[in-house]
């Protein structure tokens, strides 16, 4: 099953591109996780397995082009293989939304990325929707509502 602790997107240069915490942690704990994990994961060789143990939990990561998707999961409860699928689903969904997503899309449209993510994963990091189509449909409807709001304001 899926119960993510956090999701962090890091570029190959070690820059944070996105982060989302699904469990309450103090600011210093969060900072430590980011500080510890980034170099560890960047240093791993391509053929190594995508699961590492860190502090009291496990970390599943996957590299897509220049970005590393890093996910903290709960030991013994989470299914690490499924976590890889969750990451992949998220990437696929972004790919359809942006049309061949690249790192720059994520940097400049991070709030859209959050919108997509929040449709997929809710509460304590549990998966809420497994259909890519369903997620995209609702995100685009909300996008339209936003632009309608803007339009009305201009007209009034």
């Amino acid at each position: 099953m899926t119960q993510l602790k956090y999701l962090i997107l890091v570029s190959r240069q070690g820059k944070i591109r996105l982060k989302k915490w699904y469990t309450a942690m103090s600011a210093s704990e969060k900072a430590k996780i980011v500080k510890d994990l980034t170099p560890t994961i960047l240093a791993r060789k391509p053929k190594m397995c995508n699961i590492i143990e860190y502090s009291d939990h496990k970390v599943v990561y996957k590299r897509y082009a220049s970005l590393f998707f890093i996910v903290g999961v709960t030991s013994d409860v989470d299914n690490e293989l499924l976590t890889l699928e969750v990451i992949h689903r998220f990437v696929e969904t972004m790919d359809t939304y942006f049309g061949n997503v690249c790192e720059l899309d994520i940097i400049f449209n991070f709030n859209k990325v959050y919108d997509i993510l929040n449709e997929m994963i809710m509460c304590d990091g549990s998966i809420a929707e497994s259909s890519r189509k369903e997620v995209l449909h609702h995100v685009t409807v909300m996008d339209t509502m936003e632009s309608n709001d803007n339009l009305e304001r201009v007209l009034s």
């Binding site: 899926t2 944070i16 190594m48 689903r89 991070f110 549990s126 909300m142 509502m145 709001d149």
Partner: protein
């Protein structure tokens, strides 16, 4: 001036140096701060500022000053404001913030909003930010959506959200109405995959509460009858749905590499696992009646799911985890082990990793089935990925027993041959465990055993720490046949003295220490032995010169080996006959008569005195080391004689026990603590005083520093049939049921420390209808890392066999007491 979010991001990215970047960020941050304070700022500008703030959040900057403003945006009537406001609130706030109370009202309003997307935003945010207070206040509003909405989009979110709220405040279980779920589940038009995911989450929350809490006594809810019984009515429907999903081939939209919605399948399997865990815990007929159906379903999933793709493997993995966490019947367990073995045979490192990890956990449950796949496990020892190698190594030792010892040790030798400095941890781990293995398993072929150590020293000698060298020396010393020992030394010498051979590098300290020690002990065997003829290079002079050379190399750099050389020089002096060589050895010893190292200086002077004694005196003093008795065997006897100390006080009531002032347990912490020094003296006898100053010194050091540790040297072995009943960061607890008859059960508990545990006290409780007699902790209440301590329990009475165990101990020598408590239920009853 760049005022848009885009230009801000561009500026930050365009910064040439870190200092530039910092300057841009600080400036912008200050600007946002002032802007947000301006009450007359138009909404559009506010949004831009909050967006910039979120970018700062991602960069890891301080953002607390925007918290209130994001709540203000939520209050706006415009959707665009609300959407950004909720996003900002969920990122910038967390469950612990007091500010959350400000959100309560807005969330309440938005949960009743006519626009479903506003409702969905509120549900999502409440799911992220639910403090217990928010959970109590807003649960009725969420429940209202579950009851009345027909929109799958809202339903799935409301269910997810309700699951979190119930988990946050379990008193909500009283209000929760299972019929809401049943209704949704039976209405096929609204029960989409997303809604089903929501249902699994809410069931998981409820079942986890049943698993963790003791609801019976608290709020008048009878969990078993009021909650679990109606919940069990959903089981049949769940089975059907899961079976359909699993056998479905193509479902566009939910397909992952030919597997239909692995996310939902895994969630469903996990939910069912929780059902049966709670069912077992509460002994619920309602649930357990379905157990056979569940086993059948799991068998079908395990056999029918395509195991070639990651998505299918994820489902199989979830299935295997369920089989072992419920310890289902043996055919299923074997099937589970076989699935994991198939993972090992594949190419993907992630599946190998999870497989090894899981196999390691299930070895106690299904040891022979795991052993059958040792070929694959050994194969993983050669993997390029160090984390795979580490796990394969752990697993190799976990399955090692008398029947496969030789084969596995040979595999481990192959493994060691390929390691280099980068995997030093792995090497040390292997040596530690190999030494332990030879301690606990009787190996008939001792010459093979010595060959193993010869190989170890050859391959990884430089990495072995001194403590383990001592252990290896003990093993060599305790070898029964002199012939094997001399053969061993012969091999060591011929590799070292043969100038051609490059096998032994100069920095192989481990090798040299062992060689030096062996020369001192068994030099005569090689020099006068029968197999002298073919070893021309080994003679008195070459050995003496070897010692001299070695001594010169390490004069200042390594005093440990000099210590060994001095003792060996003394011992060797009575084993050789050539006066010239004997004089060389004397000179060697004298070299250190004025050493700045006090021990060396002392040794040198004392040895010099010995040296001048007559040969007969020297011979008695410098006799070969006696067999090094296992200290543990000694303490066994002590235990036998102290059996009558075992407490007979029956302990029945939980309340009695969990009081700190328990009477029976405090005794045993001192009960069989044997005075370690006595035993050492016994073993070495008075002879020891002079014969082996070196050895004795070490032993004494050990015994004074860690009196209890020295004595409990790994003499309790975890039996292979013990099941793990508890696992925490500091220790594992295993239980092994020795006998169960009507009215009486005997069992052993094993505590395996993960790091040093001292003053362990155990408090045990059984149900009211039973009586418990608790034995002593054996061998002691102090357990070194990875070692095991045992306690026997006798339970009499009637009913299911259940234990509540509370542990008090000091971790890593710290003065504060650590408490841990857990429950365990056995399948057997009295």
């Amino acid at each position: 001036m760049g005022s848009s979010l885009r230009s801000f991001i561009k500026d930050v990215r365009g910064a040439k140096t870190l200092a530039d970047e910092r300057a841009i960020i600080t400036k912008q941050s200050a600007k946002i701060r002032t802007k947000l304070r301006d009450d007359h700022l138009p909404h559009e500008k506010r949004r831009v500022n909050i967006q910039k703030l979120l970018y700062l959040y991602i960069l890891g900057e301080k953002t607390h000053f925007g918290q209130v403003e994001s709540i203000n945006l939520v209050a706006s009537d415009e959707f665009v404001d609300k959407r950004l406001g909720y996003l900002a609130a969920t990122l910038l706030l967390d469950e612990s913030e007091d500010l959350l109370t400000l959100l309560t009202n807005m969330l309440n309003n938005d949960l009743h909003h006519p626009n479903k997307y506003v409702v969905s935003l509120a549900l999502t945010s409440l799911g992220f930010l639910s403090s217990p207070e928010l959970a109590r206040d807003l649960y009725p509003d969420v429940e209202n959506i579950i009851k009345n909405s027909r929109d799958p989009f809202l339903l799935k979110k409301a269910l997810q959200c309700a699951a979190k709220l119930i988990f946050k405040d379990d008193s909500l279980l009283e209000i929760f109405n299972i019929e809401d779920i049943t209704r949704v589940l039976s209405n096929h038009s609204i029960c989409t995959h997303g809604v089903l995911l929501g249902i699994t989450k809410i069931l998981q929350s409820i079942l986890l509460i049943g698993l963790n809490g003791n609801k019976e006594e608290e709020d008048g809810i009878d969990y078993n009858n009021d909650i679990l019984a109606p919940l069990s009515l959903l089981l049949r429907e769940f089975f059907v749905r899961l079976e359909n999903l699993n056998s479905k081939n193509i479902e566009p939209g939910y397909d992952v590499q030919g597997i239909c919605d692995p996310f939902l399948q895994c969630e469903m399997i996990y939910t069912l696992q929780l059902y049966f865990q709670v069912g077992e815990l509460l002994d619920s007929k309602h649930v357990l009646g379905y157990k056979d159906n569940f086993c059948d379903l799991l068998t079908r999933i395990a056999t029918n799911t395509d195991s070639t793709k990651n998505s299918g493997q994820a489902i199989l993995y979830e299935t295997v985890k369920t089989i072992f966490s419920l310890n289902l019947n043996q055919p299923l367990r074997v099937l589970g082990v076989n699935i994991l073995a198939k993972f090992l045979a594949g190419k993907d490192n992630n599946t190998k990793y999870v497989s090894l990890n899981t196999l390691l956990k299930v070895v106690p449950q299904e040891p022979t089935a795991v052993q059958r796949h040792r070929k694959f496990i050994s194969h993983c020892l050669q993997d390029n990925d160090v984390s795979i190698r580490m796990r394969a190594l752990e697993l190799s030792f976990a399955i090692l027993d008398g029947s496969n010892l030789v084969e596995l040790v040979n595999e481990l030798m192959k493994f060691l041959a390929k390691q280099d400095e980068d995997s030093k941890d792995l090497i040390i781990y292997t040596i530690d465990h190999l030494v332990d293995t030879f301690d606990t398993h009787v190996v008939k072929d001792e010459s093979w055993k010595l060959d193993v150590f010869l190989n170890i020293l050859k391959l990884v000698g430089p990495f072995i720490n001194y403590e383990k060298i001592n252990d290896i020396l003990i093993i060599i010393n305790n070898t029964t046949k002199l012939f094997d020992k001399s053969n061993f030394l012969q091999k060591l010498l011929s590799l070292s003295l043969d100038g051609e051979s490059m096998e032994i590098s100069d920095d192989n300290i481990g090798w040299q220490l062992v060689l030096v020690w062996c020369i001192g002990e068994y030099g005569d065997l090689v020099l006068n032995g029968d197999n002298k003829n073919n070893t021309s290079s080994i003679n008195e002079s070459s050995i003496t010169d070897y010692l001299l050379n070695l001594q010169e190399c390490y004069t200042t750099t390594n005093h440990k080996i000099i210590n060994y050389i001095l003792t060996t020089a003394l011992k060797l002096s009575i084993k050789i006959f050539d006066a010239k060589n004997i004089e060389k050895l004397r000179q060697l010893i004298l070299n250190y008569a004025d050493s700045t190292d006090l021990t060396l200086q002392m040794k040198s002077n004392q040895y010099e005195i010995f040296f001048n004694q007559s040969l007969s005196v020297k011979k008695t003093i410098l006799e070969t080391m006696p067999k090094f008795e296992k200290i543990a065997e000694k303490s066994n006897n002590v235990k036998g004689s102290s059996k009558n100390l075992i407490s007979n006080e029956p302990i029945d009531l939980l309340s009695d026990l969990l009081n700190e002032d328990s009477k029976s347990e405090t005794k045993d912490s001192t009960g069989d603590n044997v005075k370690p020094i006595d035993i050492l003296e016994e073993i070495f006898g008075e002879k020891n005083d002079i014969t082996q100053p070196l050895k004795r010194g070490e032993e004494e050091e050990k015994s004074t520093n860690h009196p209890t540790v020295a004595i409990t040297n790994a003499d309790v072995i975890l039996p292979s049939d013990a099941t793990k009943i508890y696992d925490s960061s500091s220790l594992n607890v295993y239980a092994s049921l020795l006998s169960v008859s009507s009215g009486l059960a005997h069992l052993d508990l094993f505590f395996q420390a993960k790091s040093l545990i001292s003053d362990l006290q155990t408090f045990c409780a059984v149900p009211k209808a039973q009586k418990l007699t608790l034995g002593q902790l054996y061998p002691s209440s102090t357990i070194k890392a990875s070692q095991v301590c045992k306690q026997s329990l006798k339970v009499s009475g009637s009913g299911k066999l259940k234990l509540r165990i509370k542990l008090d101990f000091h971790l890593n020598g710290s003065s504060s007491t650590t408490n841990e408590q857990f429950d365990h239920k056995f399948n057997e009853s009295l």
